[in-house]
Amino acid sequence: MSAHNFETPTRQSAKGIVVIFGVSLYRILKATIIIFAALVYKFISSGKTAYLTSTKFILITLGVLLLFLVIAILRYLNFKFYVSSDYFFLQKGIFNKEEISVSTSKIQNVYIKQNVLQQIINVVSLSIETAGDDKTEIEISALSKSKAEALKTLLLKVAKPETFIDGEIVEDAVYFKASIKKLFLEGVSENHFKSFALIFAFIISIYNDIKAFVNQLELTSAFGSWFQLDEESLMTFILFNVTIVVVLIIMSFFLSLIRMLIQNFNLTVKRKSEGLEISKGLLNKINLSLSASRIQNTTRTTNRLKQALGLYKLSFTQAMANKKQQLNFNIVGLGKTQINELLEQFYPKAEERLIKHKPNKYLMYRLLSVSILTLLLLNMPLYFGPRSLLFLNIPIVMLVVASAIFAYKKAYYYLDSNYIIVGSGKLIDTHTNFLEIKKVQAVSLNQSIFQKTRGLASVVIYTASKPLTIPHVELTTALTIKNYLLFKVESENKDWM
């Protein structure tokens, strides 16, 4: 045993009061800031400010702060945890007492996190995740780093590794560290269309407000006199829209760049015999272990630009983890050899025997007809507008056709006695999904009436995280795949986690 004793119920570090206080204050402020600001605004505009002297204001603020402090202290005093006979126990609650017990064998992951406040007072929080449900929150907000590490080791000790890899791995040596330059390149080469679309939708909804605002600034008249155009209204229209698009592109570019840098700051990966240890983050530092038995699917993602720069992303999924948590399982900025080595660790000898089976060409035709149909529907209002706008369709059609062709080109599937590998992608992105057959939960054969007339079907493979689809293959092939997967799962009877 280590120097720390976890057998008797203990409280967290006394600094926990500060963390609980800070976090609850932050949450309340975040939730009520709009209402609060509205109240203040109303109060000031009503002209009753004279009643509220600065002493009164300070007293109210102090009262609220004191209340929060008392709650924080009470919560701290009523929060105890211990580990006993392979179970982790947690008692909490001021009025509503709660006792949580988790079998260590059911623990999926243990996170060590550090937000800005915790970084300042030098403590870490430790949270435990089970596959059961995503609502149960087991989080100890303040522990010293060494104590958290010791508790983590104790909790994860029981989870036995299932895959054995060669003894060449040196424990605790840093395997991969993403430099600022790499992260910068990752951020720059992101598929900016996605964030662009999001911001674009937002701007459209407040389009008229912006227009009014810009008109108020009288920018257009200033620019208009530069160009000295007679058709001022058309000029205004074009200039205004071009500016908006340019601003949007720059904004979305910087947003994803900053997000990438903050989330993955100091990304470090360590290889362990049972899996990986990932730590990253600037404002919220996080440290987590991924063990092979807990991983459900693995996806390798890259796009055209990233491929040219030699950048790959590896994302793992675990059972029942929520979307936000799932982001933490991403490793960005990996080089080609590194990603191959990591995949080799979790899926030994998978890629060298990979044979790409192609799905039916119907995949391409379906994509084409669906997007052309949507385009035609979108074109309907243009019938009443100027004909010149119809030319906008030309680049869109080219994009749609190219996208469909590449969607077919990049699609493949592979299946052997251990793995299912499915490749997919569109014009820009390329994804490769890896799944161990023993992680399969259920298999579905889907057939639409369009597929039926062509004798095709899709196989959907359900796992404890996201489903994997082998799209549009011959019905006989689909049935064979389904039968084979069911046979493997039922005859081998291996654990899925």
């Binding site: 596959a131 459900q296 059972a319 029942m320 006695s417 251990n418 399969v440 939960q441 259920a442 298999v443 579905s444 054969l445 889907n446 057939q447 639409s448 009436i449 039926k452 959907v460 359900y462 796992t463 404890a464 995280s465 996201k466 489903p467 049935l479 064979t480 389904k482 039968n483 084979y484 069911l486 046979f487 799962v489 039922e490 081998e492 009877n493 899925w496 986690m497």
Partner: protein, 173 residues
């Protein structure tokens, strides 16, 4: 990976899920579908009717009649598709897995191995109790949607299957 032998399996000799003799669910369940669909459309029509009565505008009154026709046509179409698709609602149990197939426009045949079942459940709505029907729900792990819900099983069949599955789950561990 040398712990088990890995001799080649003849693909043609695998147990075939397509040869399964699938059972139809109880035809009484169609009454529940019919009731639910008409109820849904009636509620929508009724709320629009109250709206048009409250607002005293002739345009709204005319719009209501168009709306009524559209809603009735939609109701008829969905009942028609339910009627065609009803014969597609089939299930079967094998030694090691359970299969449920449904859907006309998009037919899904989901097979869930018994060794992946997390828990099972029998649900009975008010109408189902009156008609002697049950819904058998079988859950696998995770949230990806590989769960089965066989609707419209006769009570005794559902109970027998529930008992059978419970026995299997208990013997498993």
């Amino acid at each position: 990976m040398t712990l088990f032998s890995n001799t080649q399996i003849e693909i043609t000799e695998l147990p075939k899920s397509e040869d399964l003799n699938l059972h139809l669910i109880s035809p009484k369940y169609f009454r529940i579908i019919l009731f639910n669909t008409t109820l849904l459309h009636t509620v929508v029509i009724a709320s629009f009717l109250t709206f048009s009565l409250l607002v005293d505008e002739p345009e709204v009154k005319t719009a209501f009649w168009y709306f009524l026709v559209v809603a009735c046509v939609l109701c008829a179409i969905s009942v028609l598709f339910y009627a065609i698709g009803f014969k597609k609602r089939k299930y079967a149990m094998r030694e090691k897995d359970i299969t449920y197939s449904h859907g006309y426009l998009l037919n899904k045949t989901v097979t869930l191995p018994y060794n992946r079942i997390q828990h099972i459940e029998i649900a009975r709505s008010f109408l189902a109790r009156k008609l002697g029907l049950s819904t058998l729900k079988i859950y696998s792990a995770g949230q990806s949607g590989g769960d089965l819900a066989i609707k419209g099983l006769p009570v005794d069949v559902a109970e027998t299957q529930y008992a059978f599955l419970t026995k299997i789950i208990n013997e498993r561990s």
